[in-house]
């Protein structure tokens, strides 16, 4: 493998599974999936504050009409993904975090019509960066790779930072998933146009497209579309997970490093993946809010893997059934096998903006974990320069403070360490649990502090009242 990878841009660490599952769905063309009868719109489909519901039960809404409004900068609007009637505003467990979250339920009614003012071609040439930013913000755009960071924030760099590189992330390094690849193949022109829109918005002259070397056809197609545009460079990347993570992509393409907890802007870069960039194009060029996306339905638990264009908030059961869900399927994962979130049930789950794939596994196993034998493979695999061996031992024995000294909080939970672990230790699980526990401790400490201060105020006020 090493020989054929020579000359490709890459990074330190990472893994590549012998079977990456891409072949299951990579040649399945994108198909528009029938509209759901009922859409469940989660008010928290992004990192940041949940959107505020701006419709009431009984309201009739059009496609693309805003049903949730971002209360602040780090948040995103949510739009009706189908035309119909709001039948309920309720709470459901979030498909990714599991936390209780507000959901607007829409029963489909009438024609699939856009709300007034939407779906109109725009003159991008005449737009100012702020126009673009506003359109993207209005459209409820979030990073569609799964992290769901509000896109308009990435388009609004702090004044003291300069952006000299916009990177279109076509790596799609997560095994099995093929939604970005299909978009690159079928909507090449639109995706590249989206990249140009981002470059214009950021006033940046250097655009890059990074594509893993296992997608040569997409690479050729993108090169052909980019043509003689000297401002966009198309780069071939080594086939390695997590090549499409921001840190690894910036390192591979620009040779710049920044800390795991920092954003790419620290290295003068802004990264958007293919699905996001396509959605930006749709939002800016056609004024279409984010109401649908391509989802790869794949894995050995379905008969017919597919890439489906699905409305946000669709129940997944029809998607899986249409793809031939096998009776022996025993694990359903939102996302890919490395970072995806296992779902407790098929019947209740609905898609959110960040759902780029649903992996259905038919013989998902459990692994017997053992004490660390110190083989050091996790350290070699960690693309962030952490010591997963130490972290797993410290987190397991609940030495959280010591784990923090070994950069616990810098872990991005990419899963490379756990994939290679000879002792089959659930390293990511231990790290996630430790972070969660630390968060709770912090919240408790804050509460205690508050209570103490309240007591002090009371104590100070008490003598005054007795006088």
């Amino acid at each position: 493998m090493a020989a054929e990878m020579k000359g490709l841009k890459s990074f330190q660490g990472g893994i590549h599974p012998p079977f990456d599952g891409k072949s299951l769905s990579k040649d399945r063309e994108i198909v528009q999936f029938p509209l759901p009868e009922v859409a469940y719109l989660c008010m928290s489909q992004h990192i940041g504050a949940p959107a505020k519901v701006v419709v009431a039960k009984g309201d009739v809404v059009k496609k693309g009409q805003k049903v949730g409004e971002a209360p602040g900068l780090i948040s995103a609007n949510v739009h009706a993904s189908i035309a119909g009637k709001v039948t309920d505003i309720t709470f459901k467990p979030h498909p990714v975090t599991g936390a209780r979250t507000q959901v607007v339920v829409i029963q489909r009614e009438g024609e699939d019509m856009w709300a007034p003012g939407l779906d109109e071609p725009q003159d991008v040439e005449a737009m100012t960066p702020d126009d673009i930013r506003n359109l993207v913000r209005e459209a409820g755009m979030v990073g569609l790779g799964g992290a769901t960071f509000p896109t308009h924030v990435k388009l609004s760099p702090p004044k003291d930072k300069t952006v000299d590189a916009v990177i279109l992330n076509g790596a799609e390094c997560e095994p099995y998933l093929t939604c970005d690849y299909r978009l690159l193949m079928e909507k090449t022109r639109e995706v590249i146009e989206g990249l140009r829109i981002v470059m214009k918005c950021l006033g940046c002259k250097n655009g890059y497209v990074g594509i893993e070397a296992n997608k040569m056809d997409a690479y050729e197609r993108v090169k052909a579309v980019v043509g003689h545009d000297a401002h966009i460079k198309v780069e071939l990347l080594e086939v390695k997970y997590p090549q499409g993570a921001e840190h690894q992509l910036v390192k591979a393409i620009l040779g710049r490093e920044f800390k795991p907890t920092q954003l790419p802007i620290e290295a003068g870069a802004v990264v958007h993946n293919v699905s996001t960039t396509y959605a930006i194009y749709e939002a800016v060029k056609h004024r279409r809010p984010l109401v649908q996306r391509v989802i790869s339905i794949t894995g050995d638990g379905v008969e017919r893997p597919a890439n489906l264009l699905v409305r946000v908030g669709s129940p997944i059961e029809p998607l899986l059934k249409a793809s031939g869900l096998k009776a022996e399927a025993n694990k359903v994962v939102y996302g890919g096998p490395m970072m995806g979130i296992a779902q407790p049930a098929v019947t209740d789950a609905v898609t959110i903006k960040g759902t780029g794939g649903i992996l259905v596994m038919s013989s998902a196993g459990e692994w017997q974990s053992h004490a660390c034998i110190r083989c050091g493979k996790c350290i070699e695999a960690c693309p962030y320069g952490l010591n997963p061996s130490y972290l797993s031992i410290l987190c397991e024995s609940e030495h959280f403070q010591q784990a923090m000294e070994f950069n616990l909080m810098e872990c991005k939970e990419c899963g490379c360490c756990t994939y290679v672990c000879t002792s089959r230790r659930p390293i990511v699980h231990l790290i996630k649990t430790a972070k969660y526990e630390l968060g709770r401790q912090k919240a408790r400490a804050q509460e205690a502090q508050k209570a103490k201060e309240a007591q002090k105020v009371q104590a100070a006020a008490a003598p005054a009242t007795t006088k």
């Binding site: 049930a345 083989c375 756990t418 000879t422």
Partner: protein, 345 residues
């Protein structure tokens, strides 16, 4: 162990048959490597050296090897089942390795109880008393050898000539009777200097599995190829011995006293460098640490060979470096991405 793995039954309300979905934290796939695969591969890589040993030292050596492995495996099974109440893990191959390695560093003519006592000490005290595989500080086989050296000095140091009496395959094939010495590095017995070829093949006196440099290098190279051994340890170790053997003033008078090739090929260095110092559990975690570890082993081995009363330094130098491993780990932590100054301690 907490693995957050729970079975959830989906409500039967949907059109799908009720199914149990497995909910675990990502990642949902694992690489091909696990402990049994690593351990049994190491066992396989050790076999050529053992075969050569049996070929030259005779069937009694084979008996010692089998006894040692059996004793190690049995000790582990008994301790796990009756003392610790753990699932018995002898199938993972780790106890087999300890048994093999222990036999390989014993003289071919030791009494039968030596490998048995050694294996019980290695598995019982050095491995399980410290918490079992992954938690032991010292390489169990080497620590057991050091224990036997002190507890049974007579059989360990003087029973070499049993080889000839036991006959074995040796006398038939080579017709040599010179192999009555402890080690080609011993000057007292060293009237004869062995050729490089003898040392490569293993046609020299020594412990059961340590004599054939070529068989050990083959096994070691395979482990490096498979990624179970980092080259920095054997290269750092052997390279350091090679350089120092040339440079340091020798105290003994022998034709090979300052011959680096002779020092590298003779004695337990090859076995130690490829199979003992590379023990994952007792060596450092990072590549930088492994290089330091290998060089440290080389320095100590040469110093002991040149300036101590003991002709062979491999066993004690690796044990000493095992002891230093947590310290080496501490100063060779990986560097956090994007921090030029290096990761925090």
């Amino acid at each position: 162990m907490s693995n957050a793995q729970e079975k959830v039954v989906t409500p039967a309300s949907g059109g799908l048959p009720t199914r149990e979905l497995l909910v675990t934290t990502s990642p949902h796939i694992r690489g091909p490597e696990d402990i049994p695969r690593v351990m049994w591969t190491v066992v396989g890589a050790l076999l050529p050296a053992g075969l050569v040993g049996v070929y030259f030292f005779g069937y009694y050596a084979l008996f010692i090897v089998i006894l040692s492995v059996l004793a190690a495996v049995l000790t582990e099974a008994v301790i796990q089942k009756y003392l610790l109440g753990q699932p018995v893990s002898v199938k993972d191959g780790s106890a087999v390795i300890t048994g093999l390695l222990l036999a390989y560093i014993l003289p071919p003519g030791v009494p039968w109880y030596i490998p048995v006592v050694g294996a019980i000490f290695a598995i019982g005290i050095v491995k399980h008393a410290f918490g079992g595989l992954g938690n032991n500080i010292w390489n169990p086989a080497l620590a057991a050898r050091a224990f036997l050296q002190v507890a049974y000095p007579a059989p360990i140091n003087s029973d070499w000539r049993i080889i000839k009496e036991s006959g074995g395959i040796l006398s038939n094939i080579t017709g040599m009777d010179a192999i009555t010495q402890a080690s080609p590095l011993l000057k007292e017995f060293g009237g004869k200097t062995y050729s490089y070829m003898d040392l490569l093949i293993g046609r020299v006196p020594g412990c059961i599995g340590e004599t054939s440099a070529i068989a050990l290098m083959l096994g070691g190279a395979y482990l490096i190829y498979r990624g179970y051994v980092d080259w920095r340890v054997p290269v750092g170790y052997i390279g350091t011995v090679f350089v120092l053997a040339k440079l340091l003033p020798a105290r003994i008078e022998a034709p090979w006293a300052n011959d680096p090739i002779y020092h590298v090929l003779a004695g337990g260095l090859m076995l130690g460098a490829f199979f003992m110092a590379t023990d994952m559990v007792t060596s450092p975690l990072t590549r930088r640490g492994l290089l330091i570890f290998g060089i440290g082993c080389g320095v100590l081995t040469t110093l002991i060979r040149f300036y101590a009363a003991y002709p062979e330094g491999v066993c004690y130098s690796i044990l000493l470096m095992n002891t230093a491993t947590p310290l080496i780990d501490r100063f060779t932590q990986p560097t956090l991405l994007g921090s030029a100054s290096g990761g925090k301690k």
